[in-house]
Symmetry: C2
Subunit: 149 residues, 2 copies
């Protein structure tokens, strides 16, 4: 692969990252949320109450990020943190009623965003998009590379 091709790919990924996140931020602002927090709330809605370590894995980010985000969502009342029974190290995070209500709005917003994102892309490509993007993501994921711990 020559430099121009490589650059086109890397730049496109960068642009998509930046602008998708910015758009998420715009859509989330009226709900009082910041980008990233929606992922945590949606994960809790999907999987129910869970330990922060599990959240860290599910969200694909590091434990300190989870600590901060869950603290802030706790401060805004959308999430509740309590000691895990059976493991004095762990904290269980779960949705409050307020958080559950927010998730409902999030779901609508999330669908609108996805539709907006794939506008003008042929249907077959759209169907294969998650798999394609996840392949790219896995390829650059640290834990999937030899030598990672």
């Amino acid at each position: 692969m020559n430099f121009d091709q490589a650059d086109a790919i890397n730049q496109a990924i960068r642009r998509l990252s930046l602008w998708h996140r910015a758009r998420v931020g715009e859509l989330l602002a009226p709900l009082g949320l910041h980008p990233g927090q929606e992922a945590l709330l949606l994960e809790l809605a999907r999987s129910g109450p869970m330990i922060q370590a599990a959240l860290s894995t599910a969200l694909g980010c590091e434990p300190p990020s989870v600590t901060q985000m869950s603290r802030k969502l706790e401060a805004s009342g959308h999430v509740l943190r309590r000691p895990a029974r059976g493991d004095k190290r762990a904290s269980v995070v779960e949705l409050t009623d307020s958080g559950t209500a927010l998730v409902e709005q999030l779901r609508r917003l999330w669908r609108g965003l996805a539709e907006e994102t794939v506008a003008g892309v042929a249907e077959p490509s759209v169907a294969g998009l998650p798999e394609l993007l996840n392949t790219l993501a896995s390829n650059v994921r640290r834990a999937d590379r030899p030598g990672a711990q």
Copy 2:
């Protein structure tokens, strides 16, 4: 589009963003650079010395980000900032010799990253990848949406 499809797309984009950036960070660390800075250096290598406002547009990020990044790259000696002749408001940013040398290493690294990223993706898909990703990016780009200023 139902929620699960939408979620698959949005989540995949999030993961790709996170992990691609993390991987860039890993590769850049030995050069003493942080993710984002490579984009600025490569843009200067592509287009030559330019005003910060042009950099802001080219990089797809906001002016304060450009101010900070160019200041830090100036501090590390890879970039030089000087007043623009003909416009007392503007600053021209250009590569130093050190920056030019870095860009050479960046190019190699950039190619390796792109190859790593598209591993296991069929050739026709790879060829169309930049266009596909740029379509997605444009779709969520603020400036391309009605009502943006």
